[in-house]
Symmetry: C2
Subunit: 161 residues, 2 copies
């Protein structure tokens, strides 16, 4: 499949499709990044294990430091969802997340995808995450009040590729 | 499960959980209502067949005239999604859809659900559908431009129960 080959990024990072042996590293970063509840980690790993989504990992010096879970959005012609993106806390603020995000967008373009939708939390402790998306060209497309739980809105973002 | 018993509605309508023998009637109304593309019908029936969602049908004089597909929204405390609601074209404008909608909302309340989210098309030919939701207390919570296809936005609705 086009775009599924390993790709060298700036800074010696490498992005490649997920392999079964990456599972422990992904599980570890989901817990260690401290951004996700136990249930979120469980669901994220279900989406790894079911193999129903496209998964990519980013390596730094041979160690898996981030992953993303994406797929075509059902019932749409050219919309994709970015379901999960996670970078190990020890690798944050070094361009790992940005490299992975850009790779994902290039991959989606290579598959004739024209837009990416993602959902994230409106909580104050997600402000850095939301700013990351906004700097990357994602625009708010909606907000569902108290969606995750009272006081925890869902913010929808859209990026037209 | 609470709320899963049959319920008599006004006008002699009856709502009950979906049974395997309802499958043909549901498939028929999805096609006959002419609101859904072939792919939408296929996905709606996948969601019937996988038995991973809660399904209800509404009967009029013993004939299944509508159905709804709902479920708890993953990763949320008290949010539910209304994924599909369809009324046979021969039974529209007689309160069948409204009765089914109200039953669904009562059922969700009985399960401690506090809000319902649904997605529908922003196309002009969906205006009657959107008005139905708006009259029923659903408020727009977002719009994703060109989501389904160019010129076909996704409109998100939220009802707080």
């Amino acid at each position: 499949m086009a775009g599924l080959h390993s790709q060298a990024c700036p800074m010696g990072l490498t992005i490649r499709p997920f392999e079964a042996s990456d599972r422990d590293a992904v599980a570890g970063m989901l817990v260690d990044c401290a951004a996700f509840s136990d249930e979120e980690v469980r669901v994220a790993l279900e989406m790894v294990d079911c193999r129903g989504y496209l998964l990519f990992v980013i390596e730094e010096d041979g160690a898996v430091r981030g992953y993303a879970c994406i797929d075509r959005t059902p019932l749409t012609v050219s919309t994709w969802h970015l379901y999960w993106i996670c970078v190990h806390p020890g690798a944050q603020r070094r361009g790992v997340g940005t490299s992975l995000q850009q790779y994902i967008e290039d991959f989606i373009r290579s598959q004739a995808g024209e837009r990416v939708v993602l959902e994230t939390s409106g909580r104050p402790d997600y402000e850095r995450t939301r700013r990351f998306y906004e700097r990357s060209g994602y625009e708010p497309a909606g907000r569902i009040r108290d969606y995750y739980k009272p006081g925890d809105d869902c913010v929808l973002y859209l990026k037209v590729l």
